[in-house]
C-alpha cells in the first residue's frame, strides 16, 4: 500500500536509473528525488534526456536499471494507465491534445478516471450518468475559469493557436487533480506575455493546491524564478542538483549548459 506523504517529504525517488534505446544511452545512472509540494525543475541542453526522464516517471519508458519509489512503494515497469491512476499527470513537449475534440471535451477527458457510471447508465444518460457528468463539468469549469479559457470552450482544439493549445493541455492535466504534475516545456514557443501567464498559473497551482510539479524548461530565467530545486542533466548524466542559487554557481553547469547558447 502506498503511504500518505506529507509536504516536504519525498514523493518520488529515482535511484541509479539507466535507460537506453538500442545503442543510445539516453539516461545514465541518474538519481534524484521530488518532494511533496515543491516545484522541481529538470534542465539540460537538447538531447540531455529530460523528456526521457518524464517518460520513465510516468511509465511510458521502462528503464533497464535502477529503482523508482513513488509514495513509498517500489514500482516495477508500470503502464502509463497505472501511473495515471496513482495521480501522475503530464503535458507534452509537442502538444498532445485530442485534436478533433472541443476544448471542453479535452479537459473533461482529464476526469475519465474519476467517473464511474457504467455502460448501462451511460446508454440512458439521463439520471445518474448525467448527474455524474454535471458534477465533473463543474470541476472542469473551475479549471477553465482559473486558466481563463472560457471563451474557447467550444472550439475544436486543432483550430487554436499554439499558446492556447499549451494552456488547454495544462487544463486537461489539472482536471485530473494529480498529486504529481509533469510539465514538459510548457512555455516553449510562447511570447513573453504568454510565458508570464503560464508562470503565474504554475506558481498558483503549486501555492494554492499544493500540487507537486516537475518542470522541464529551457528558459533559464523562468526556471530560476519558479523552481525550488533544480536537477541538471547533460548527455544523460546528472551533473548538478540543488537550489537555483547552488546550481547557477556550479562550474559544471556553467560549462555544460549555461555557456551553450540556445
Amino acid at each position: 500500500m502506498s503511504q500518505e506523504i506529507k509536504p516536504g517529504e519525498v514523493l518520488l525517488e529515482l535511484e541509479d536509473v539507466s535507460l537506453s534505446f538500442g545503442g543510445v544511452r539516453a539516461i545514465k545512472n541518474v538519481g534524484f528525488n521530488i518532494k511533496r509540494g515543491e516545484i522541481r525543475a529538470i534542465i539540460g541542453p537538447n538531447g540531455a534526456g529530460k523528456t526521457s526522464m518524464l517518460n520513465v516517471i510516468n511509465g511510458f519508458y521502462h528503464p533497464q536499471e535502477g529503482t523508482i519509489t513513488y509514495k513509498g512503494v517500489h514500482r516495477k515497469n508500470m503502464r502509463p494507465y497505472v501511473a495515471a491512476t496513482q495521480g501522475i499527470a503530464r503535458t507534452f513537449q509537442n502538444v498532445a491534445l485530442f485534436k478533433g475534440m472541443s476544448t471542453l471535451d479535452n479537459i473533461m477527458s482529464g476526469r475519465t478516471l474519476k467517473m464511474h457510471r457504467n455502460f448501462l447508465w451511460q446508454m440512458l444518460y439521463y439520471g445518474p450518468a448525467r448527474r455524474e457528468e454535471m458534477q465533473h463539468r463543474e470541476r472542469v469549469e473551475h479549471v477553465i475559469d482559473f486558466l481563463e479559457i472560457a471563451h474557447i470552450r467550444r472550439t475544436p482544439v486543432g483550430r487554436l493557436p499554439y499558446g492556447l493549445q499549451k494552456r488547454v493541455e495544462l487544463a486537461r492535466a489539472l482536471a485530473m487533480e494529480p498529486e504529481l504534475l509533469l510539465l514538459d516545456e510548457p512555455m516553449a514557443g510562447m511570447n513573453l506575455e504568454e510565458k508570464e501567464d503560464m508562470s503565474r498559473y504554475i506558481l498558483e497551482v503549486n501555492d494554492e493546491f499544493g500540487m507537486t510539479i516537475a518542470l522541464i524548461e529551457h528558459d533559464i530565467s523562468v526556471v530560476m524564478d519558479l523552481s525550488d530545486r533544480i536537477v541538471v542533466l547533460d548527455h544523460g548524466e546528472k551533473i548538478a542538483d540543488g537550489t537555483p542559487a547552488e546550481v547557477s554557481a556550479d562550474q559544471d553547469v556553467i560549462d555544460a549548459y549555461l555557456g551553450v547558447a540556445h
Partner: protein, 359 residues
C-alpha cells in the same frame, strides 16, 4: 434570421450540454420525428416505404455502427457487410429455435452475437493500426463469407443456400414475412433506429464516447489520461458490431425477406463505408445523410430519366452512379473529411450570423 441563439441563455450545464442546445435545432428534430412517425406512414405509398424509407433507415443504422468504430474511435473496418451477416444469420437461427419469441427481441439479441464476433476480430487492433488493421478486417470479411456458404447449419441446410424469413409476430402484429404490411415494418424499423440512435448519442457524449475519441485522436495521451486502450477499442468494436449486426438482421427480416451471402459481401462493406465518408466521420446526423445519399441517388437516377420518358440502360445508370459517388468520395476525402454533416453545419453557422457575417 430565425436561426439564432440570441436570447437563449443557458442557465445550467445540463441545458448547455444537451444534444441540441439551440432551440431551432430542437424544433427541427421534432419536425423530422413528426414527419417520420406520422406523415410518412400516412402519406407514403408502399413503394416509398418498402423500397426507400426502410432500407434507408437500416443503412443509416449500419452507418452509425461503422461510424462508432471508424469516425469516433479511428479504427477502419472493411468487415461491416460480414458483421451485418452475423446479425442476420444469428437472428435466423434464433427464430428457428424460438419461433414464438417476439422477433424484435430476437433481432436485438442477434446484435450480441455480432458484437461478440466483432470483438474477437477487433483483438488485433490492440497491436496493429491503419493499413494492417484494414487487412485484418478484410480477412474477417472473407472468413465470415466463407462460413455463410460452407456452414449449412447457419441456413438450416436449405437447398437454396439462402435464409428465408418466416412469418413472425410481435406486439400482436405480423411483423415479418410476406403478409407483414410495409407500414408495420416501417414503424418497427423506425422505432428501433430512433431508439438506437438516441442510445448512440448518449454513449458518445459521455465518458465512454470521449474515451473512444481520445483513442482516435491520440492514443498515447489517452492512456496517460487513464483510458485503457483494450477496453476502449474492444468496447468500440462491440458496440459498433452490435449496431451493424442489428442492422443486418433488420435488413433481412424487414426488408429483403430472404438473403444469401451476396447481401453481406465486401461490396456491402464498401457501400456502408462510403455512407460514413460522405455523411461525415464522427457524426450521427451524417450517418443518416450518407445513407440517404448513397441509397436514394441510384433511385433518383433511375426515376428521373424515366419520368422524362428517356430510356437509359440499367448498366449505364449503374456506371453513372459509380462515377458520381466515386468523385464525391474523393472530393470529401480531400476537401472535407467531415462530410455532408460538416457542410450542413457550416451552412448553419453562416445562417446564424447572416446578414452580418463578421458580427
Amino acid at each position: 434570421m430565425f436561426y439564432r441563439e440570441t436570447g437563449q441563455y443557458k442557465t445550467s450545464y445540463e441545458a448547455d450540454s444537451s444534444i441540441f442546445p439551440i432551440l431551432q435545432d430542437r424544433i427541427g428534430i421534432a419536425l423530422m420525428l413528426i414527419v417520420a412517425f406520422v406523415v410518412i406512414p400516412l402519406a407514403g405509398n408502399d413503394f416509398f416505404l418498402s423500397s426507400i424509407m426502410i432500407p434507408f433507415l437500416i443503412f443509416a443504422l449500419a452507418a452509425i455502427g461503422l461510424n462508432i468504430l471508424t469516425g469516433y474511435t479511428g479504427q477502419i473496418s472493411l468487415g461491416t457487410g460480414a458483421f451485418m451477416g452475423v446479425g442476420a444469420y444469428a437472428c435466423y437461427k434464433l427464430t428457428t429455435y424460438f419461433p414464438d419469441v417476439n422477433i424484435v427481441l430476437l433481432i436485438l439479441c442477434s446484435g450480441f452475437f455480432s458484437a461478440f464476433i466483432g470483438m474477437l476480430f477487433g483483438l488485433p487492433s490492440l497491436r496493429i493500426k491503419g493499413f494492417y488493421l484494414i487487412v485484418t478486417t478484410l480477412a474477417a470479411q472473407f472468413f465470415l463469407e466463407w462460413a455463410f456458404i460452407r456452414v449449412g447449419w447457419l441456413y438450416n441446410y436449405n437447398d437454396s443456400g439462402a435464409i428465408e424469413v418466416p412469418e413472425r409476430t410481435g406486439f400482436g402484429l405480423v411483423l415479418t414475412g410476406p403478409s407483414a404490411t410495409p407500414t408495420t415494418r416501417y414503424m418497427v424499423v423506425l422505432c428501433l433506429v430512433v431508439a438506437m440512435t438516441w442510445v448512440a448519442s448518449n454513449l458518445i457524449r459521455g465518458r465512454i464516447g470521449r474515451s473512444w475519441m481520445m483513442i482516435r485522436d491520440m492514443d498515447i495521451a489517452a492512456e496517460l489520461m487513464g483510458v485503457r486502450p483494450l477496453y476502449a477499442k474492444l468496447s468500440a468494436f462491440a458496440v459498433s458490431s452490435f449496431y451493424t449486426g442489428v442492422a443486418g438482421a433488420m435488413m433481412v427480416f424487414f426488408w429483403l425477406g430472404a438473403a444469401e451471402v451476396e447481401s453481406f459481401d465486401v461490396n456491402e462493406s464498401f457501400s456502408i463505408l462510403f455512407m460514413v465518408i460522405l455523411g461525415g466521420l464522427g457524426s450521427l446526423m451524417g450517418s443518416f445523410m450518407g445513407a440517404a445519399f448513397i441509397w436514394i441517388l441510384p433511385v433518383l437516377l433511375r426515376l428521373i430519366p424515366e419520368s422524362f420518358g428517356i430510356d437509359i440502360s440499367v448498366a449505364t445508370l449503374e456506371h453513372i452512379n459509380f462515377m458520381i459517388v466515386g468523385a464525391l468520395i474523393i472530393f470529401f476525402l480531400i476537401v472535407e473529411p467531415h462530410g455532408l454533416a460538416r457542410l450542413w453545419k457550416i451552412a448553419k453557422e453562416k445562417l446564424r450570423t447572416w446578414p452580418f457575417p463578421y458580427a
